[in-house]
Subunit: 262 residues, 2 copies
């Protein structure tokens, strides 16, 4: 199945499309065309994967076998309703959308959800990205599994309901963590301390839970709600009232969580 | 200065004491004695670093040159007020306590603050741990800098005020992030999904900010407050009302933060 001889077009040229298209191209798959509402995004990705590009919906080519939709959920239907892809394998990459959002647009539908935080200008090893696949029929599920296995060593099947749960958890573990890095950076900057000093701590915090479960890796004053420290920290955040509120509610949450676990 | 011929005793045998004592021992420093209120903690660490141990305050030996206090802030004064260490170099390891909390107890006082998340049963490379030192006189500051440089490649001087700010930032970047890993794990467990699937995402989230600033690494629905996704996630968390509240307030915070940055 390594040489599948399938060709791909991308509807969307954002972070997910950029990494997925490059991973496919790197493994020898043909990318026919990139569509994006902005020419520069379409062109940038098209150049990376040796594909044509367009910003016009009516110029989307019918020459690919598989159409990968990597659009924001909010414009999903607006774009797809203008296309006739009813004979194509139509695949989306969204954690939060169920498979059946594609039902109005094709008989052959699937999902290929790469669980990772993608930024356009950051390279990563796609082989290590967990990929979750789903399809509305056995043949396409096999095709998508085989396809995903050409770009990742970590492929699983997962239905829409579980995928939505996984997406919620991913937002908490990734997007929220990064926001606390950002808040810490902002606060340090106000005190003229370089963010650099936190980098080893951030790295080790993530490395610990590669082996431990997070509940066993927790450290810090909130576990026992050490008011000696927490009150000082709340006072230290007095110029950042919104951070103060979050500091307080998350410390409470940590305390409650660990009280229950004991 | 590599062979400093200083000997050390530890007041406290928790996570920080365990890692610091082992780092010192590994670099050839002599550890005289470990004190802890619980014999088993004192003994466990003493065995690791070839030292004596005691749980009795009045049995704390006067044979060491440097006494490293690694106690919870809440018992700090209770323990130190029972000792006479006025002729010793007395050092604490706390991010949140100023240097001068040691003033009642010795003429020669300092701080050696290792900025890392330490768990007893997890090994780490202490050479990469940022260590921040402070002292009340030039000679002891030089001694502590030289000492810290024997165990870490990342030693800086920092005063008490900045150290407190750094500690606040560390709690946000480390303890709070880990709590979101824990919440994600708990939620996934309730949906019968293994935490394993999130590990590559957590690792990459931390790796991204080793190079990027966190504001440039942020991804996810909250940046543009994508209500299509956020409302679904809030509904998906309906059985976890406390997580729902945090999800909402952090998403708001991410949105406000990125709106201001644009």
């Amino acid at each position: 199945m390594q040489n599948m001889n399938l060709s791909f077009s991308f509807i969307g040229a954002g972070n997910v499309a950029t990494h997925l298209a490059q991973a496919l191209k790197n493994k020898g798959h043909k990318i026919v065309q990139i569509y994006s509402r902005t020419t520069s995004s379409a062109k940038t990705l098209a150049n990376k994967v040796d594909a044509a590009f367009t910003k016009d919906i009516d110029q989307i080519s019918d020459q690919a076998d598989v159409y990968i939709v990597a659009l924001k959920d909010s414009v999903f239907n607006e774009v797809l309703s203008q296309l006739d892809l009813s004979n194509k394998l139509l695949v989306h990459c969204s954690g939060s959308l169920p498979l059946n959002v594609l039902m109005p647009y094709s008989r052959n539908i699937g999902v290929l959800y790469p669980l990772q935080t993608f930024s356009k200008n950051r390279e990563l090893d796609f082989q290590k990205v967990p990929v979750f696949v789903e399809a509305n029929n056995k043949k396409d599920l096999e095709i998508l599994c085989a396809l995903a296995n050409t770009i990742s060593n970590n492929v699983s099947r997962m239905d829409s309901e579980k995928r939505k749960s996984l997406h919620v958890a991913a937002v908490m573990a990734c997007n929220f963590s990064n926001h606390f890095y950002a808040m810490a950076a902002e606060y340090l900057n106000s005190k003229e301390i370089a963010f650099d000093v936190l980098r080893p701590l951030i790295e080790e915090t993530a490395q610990k839970v590669q082996e431990l479960m997070p509940k066993d890796a927790q450290t810090g004053p909130a576990i026992r709600f050490d008011t000696n420290i927490i009150d000082k920290h709340l006072e230290a955040l007095s110029e950042f009232p919104s951070y103060q509120n979050l500091y307080n509610s998350i410390s409470q949450s940590i305390f409650e969580y660990h009280k229950e676990k004991q």
